[in-house]
Amino acid sequence: MSVLIDLFSLAAIGAGVFFFFAGTVGLLRFPDSLSRLHALSKADNLGLGLVVLGLLPRAENPLAAFKLVVVWALVLLSGASTAQLIGRALRRGRK
């Protein structure tokens, strides 16, 4: 059973790291600010979500697991909002 959990954690965190990596590559390589922003928010939301998912079975107690999920939710909220704000500031600057 514990081997299965280990494998699950490994797979989920590995997938999360992949999304972070892809997002970072996008941030460095994409041509304009809006698409860079797009790459970054995907990495934050999905990558962190997968890392949290992989860490959930390793939490000491349900409260710690809940805190992990709350951390992800807070990053989702602030990441999505700031991406909106930066995007709008960019569009205003272009006009």
Binding site: L74, S81, Q84, L85
Partner: protein, 317 residues
């Protein structure tokens, strides 16, 4: 096991690199962003040094609040720069300033490098002292801050109040007593309002939680207070609330509440426990939490007032 040392080395190099980039950046805004990244990296360094309390403070104050402060200051500097263009400093002056900076950095580095091993430390004495009147607190950091070094902790908050007074005093005379300008001139955007409405209540709850668990786990008054301050600033940026008038009685009472309560309890210790800032050991813990609650209030009010800046008379109708 050789992965962690390699990661630590990479982290250390990254910190030095970001620090160098922050200094070298030509653009003021870019260097502020570099400074914020530097603060977040330092927080990770503190985690690696097993100092989660300092990591929390570094992330909240060193990176978060200071970042907002520097961005705001940068904007004001830009406005001033547009108004007047003075002559850039000459080569001799720049070399002189650089030499002074090298001298200070060199002296600091020399002191650190020539520290005796083991380095002189007050930690055992502090731990012993914290075992006494600070007993009952599971977090030794809080015990030391509030019991062993209580006078320092109290004076830190006085420094914060002095800083707020300094900021207020550079406003024009005719604006004295009015409210500082809003953090955003224009009407806030929908996304900002949405963020503030959702984040501020959750963040305030987390701030109080961090203060509350600070007695027994990493956390404490400064970290919790900084989070509350950040949430107030988010609400002000969304224009959900405006900065208060600086002659407001409530604002001023909240500002001085922390050090004032600390001082009164310290003086009471002189009478009841026989020493200035001594806590009767029977109820040291509730007393310390009582003081810290007012400290949280003072910090949560002082930091946004620093960011809001001096009243400039623009908020008058």
């Amino acid at each position: 096991m050789s992965v962690l040392p390699a990661l630590d080395l990479g982290l250390a190099l990254l910190v030095v690199g970001v620090a160098a980039w922050t200094i070298a950046a030509r653009n003021l805004f870019a260097s502020v962003v570099g400074y914020v990244a530097y603060g977040l990296l330092l927080a990770i360094v503190w985690i690696r040094l097993y100092a989660p309390d300092i990591a929390l403070t570094e992330a909240a104050v060193g990176s978060g609040v200071t970042g907002v402060l520097l961005v705001t200051a940068g904007k004001r500097l830009d406005a001033i720069k547009a108004a007047e263009t003075g002559a850039p400093p000459g080569l001799a002056l720049r070399i002189f300033v650089g030499a002074l900076a090298v001298l200070v950095a060199g002296a600091l580095a020399w002191v650190v490098v020539t520290l005796p091993t083991p380095a002189p430390s007050l930690a055992p004495a502090a731990a012993a002292a914290a075992d006494g009147p600070g007993a009952g607190l599971g977090n030794p950091i809080t015990a030391v801050l509030m019991s062993y070094r209580s006078f320092d902790t109290m004076l830190e908050k006085v420094v914060l109040i002095l800083a707020v007074l300094g900021v207020w005093s550079v406003g024009p005379d005719k604006a004295w007593g009015t409210a500082p300008a809003p953090l955003r001139k224009a009407k806030a955007e929908g996304a900002m309002v949405f963020l503030a409405q959702l984040l501020a209540p959750a963040g305030a709850l987390i701030g109080v939680h961090i203060f509350w668990v600070g007695a027994d786990a990493p956390g404490g008054a400064f970290q919790g207070g900084a989070l509350l301050a950040a949430m107030w600033m988010v609400a002000m940026m969304a224009r959900l609330t405006e900065p208060p008038r600086i002659d407001s009685r409530i604002l001023r009472l909240a500002l001085i509440a922390g050090p004032a309560v600390f001082l009164v309890v310290g003086l009471a210790g002189l009478l009841l426990a026989g020493n200035f800032f001594a806590f009767p050991s029977a109820f040291a813990k509730p007393l310390i939490l009582f003081i810290e609650a007012f400290m949280v209030l003072s910090i949560a009010v002082a930091l946004p007032m620093l960011v809001a800046g001096p009243p400039d008379g623009s908020s008058e109708p």
